[in-house]
Amino acid sequence: MSSIPISLLELEDDASSCLVADDYQKKEGKWCAGCGDFGALNAVKRLLAKEQLKPEKMAFVSGIGCSSRFPHYVNAYGFHGIHGRALPIATGVKLARPDLDVFVVMGDGDCTSIGAGHWIHATRYNTNMTVLLLDNNIYGLTKNQTSPTTPQGYTSNTSPKGSVLPALDPLQATLGVSNASFVAQTADWVPAHLYATLQAAFDHKGFSFVRILQRCPKFTPDVFTENVKNPDLTELLVHEEGVNAPGLDKLFKAMREHDPKNIDEARALAQRKDLLRLGIFFKDSNLPVYDEIRAVPPVSPEEKVQRLEKEFDRYAV
């Protein structure tokens, strides 16, 4: 067991094939300086390095919008799809290829507006995938239109007098769906929490939904200013089953012990707007996972032909 030469050899071998975070960067992100998408990309790269995932064994699926350029910047297989439809594509990929780790990246318009129908059903399918909602409260790529998550009263090109409706809360919506299995919230200005949350989402088997709060430097630079300036306005949800990033207790005074298995408390906390809450709201690993319940054993072409003959016997005249 203590044979030094052999373990040295192995170490060398491991070291040569070890990928670091930057190995997962394919191209430089072409987002605006200060865009929250960079933070998400960095956290994802760190996660991939930590997990040592092979580039060919991952699929990053996105829709349309600034954040949906994400797959172009990751060293993995990627599918940059159409607006609002990342989730059906990702579902198809996972059903066909359960061996792949599937990641989905959507913006707030993509997921909660044009793709809202798919979002509800994908939550219910609970297909095993890590789902990132990059929520900057605005349509950026089309240049400053109100999105469902834009705060009420916030002005944009389509709401010059301010958004007329209360913002849609993606956490409340997801937590309301039957068979939802993982719902978390994090923020681009707390990188340690962002990384730890993505790790927890990746570790969870099922539809792991993470809302990442972020700012658009062009159109919503100030949406979270108060929270960024004053950590006391943010409450961390902590639990041994939750997100536990080292050092955060020094930054945030408000901490709440919240058991992610408690759906009622999760919904109540999502509804309360007194403080901004980051952490895992809900997690249940015992719910049906769609790609698992739909898995069928492979059948060889020869066997298929034999079975087809029997099928045709039913129609024989």
């Binding site: 990053f60 297989y77 579902t91 198809g92 069928v296 024989a316």
Partner: protein
Amino acid sequence: MNKSTTIDAAVHAVREHTVEIITNSGEGAQKCAQIFGQTCAKMGNGVWTVEIIPAEIEPPHHTVTSTSGNIIRFGTEKITNWGDQSKLAIAFNDQVCLSRHRLNSFDDNCIILQESAWAESEDEVIRKMYAEAMEEMSSKNYRFIQVPIEEETLKVVDNPQHGKNMFALGLLAEIYNRDLAIIEKQIAHIFQKKSAKVTELNVQLVKNGMQWARDNLDFRFNVETIPAEEKRVVMNGNQAAALGAVAAGMEMCSMYPITPATSVSHELAAIIENYGGIVHQAEDEIAAAGVALGASYGGKVALTVTSGPGMALKTEFLGLAIMTEIPLVVLDVQRGGPSTGLPTKVEQSDLLSSIYGQHGDAPRVVIAPRSIEECFHSMVTARRIAETFRCVVIVLTDANLATGVQQFTRPEFDIRWQQEPVDFSPVPEGLRPYDWDPETGLSRRIIPGTPGGAHTVTGLAHDELSNVSYEPESNERGCKMRSRKLAVFQSTLMPPDVTGDQEGDLLVVGWGSTQGAIEEAVDRARKEGHKVSTCQLTFMSPLEPGLKEIFSRFKKVMTVEINYSDTVGDPYITEETRRYGQLAWLLRAHTLVDIDCWTSCPGQPLRPNDIYNSIIAKSEKGASK
């Protein structure tokens, strides 16, 4: 049940006959017809059956809108379409009978076996409706025979709703001298999941129906049967398409319920898991396309099944599949449109939208099977084309093929029909995701999981590396390469066959499900000396080669289609304003030949006789030119 009362019956020998069973929906007409059709097929008759289905599940009974039924045309030779009017009908009430009369579905001398209970109903309203219906139908020379269907059924079962159909089957079995042993086997098969008692009661009802016919009917028809030398199967087009998908090795059917396509997924849902695949019922039509595309991206050539309104919703995803060059097979079982249109009824009006219904230039392959048999084989062809050419293949069937039942040669399965295992060998250095062969536009698809091939596909304009590119040259090249594939595929096709003389006065061109009816009509015209031939297309995009040359050999060319076209002479309609049938538009643009059309959109298959009349009218016009 006393044999001694049996009356003498005249036996009429006929080459073919058309029968309809018409009931309220929910009274089992389909089961009756299914067994009768199967029995005819097994005995060696050619058969074509057509469902008459209301759009609702069970609309109010005893009304002209509640008609559910089935038409069975069978004959000594092969039957390729539903034919003309029915010679015999069994009607469970006067109102459903009236609805068929109003559609001109009965031959002038049709024999109608009608439920006798309504004439003397205790309900005055029903008696009045009955009297009025009979009065209206008296314009024709129908022979009505009153049959106590319900009364006789009650002798065997308590609820006549579940039994009248089998009594009716017995009537048909006796009239056409069908083999009771075959019928019994069919009944046992249909009710195999129920108790033996159910089969027994149903067989008893058939026997009682036969006995009643022996006791009361003075006619029989003999349609000679010629047992087939080859192995055959009998099924409808949706079943054939579903089995074709399995034979093609497809392991993902992603769909959303829509009439008349849904039964494809019923068939698949019942069996596909035995073949390593699944049916995924998506949350909507768009997601159904998305899941299929995702699965195809993952390496399975997936299928999505839909009808017109669903095609409209899937449009954006088809564009994405074409842009990313991910193979995808789409089965569109056409129905009447636009909008919700005629959900259960036939139309051939998705041709142009299937070929051109995309923003941007979006070349794809469109195939239209012409028979039930081709519904099976076209799925195999479609998968193969989709994969070879990294493209979208749309298979256009219609409600006529979907629910029509016909027998065909049992396919001999070929293992090569199925998808080959995905090639996961490492990507050679320098191979690009869209390494277009400049000659053909073809390139190797790199599927996730392949080492060294990680790249991101995108619906944005892209270069060979799949990098987003807005460069003018790059976009031109992408368009050219995607289009080139279609031309390469077209080069593998043969010119279509011309049935009849290779030149003449009139060429009738059809596509898809109308083949049988058109050929029958043309055949009749030819026998009368008209110089008319026909040509039936199945590849709609790209079109089969040689069309212009074929058309040049005829004085006049016209299409026959089940869709709308203007008639010159109608208000505002001139040669200049006239809108043509969809195939006519396509062929005019493709060949610059002045092609005429005769189209009709009655929500039912074309009748050979109507096509014949249009042929005669056109060829006379043509001759006088």
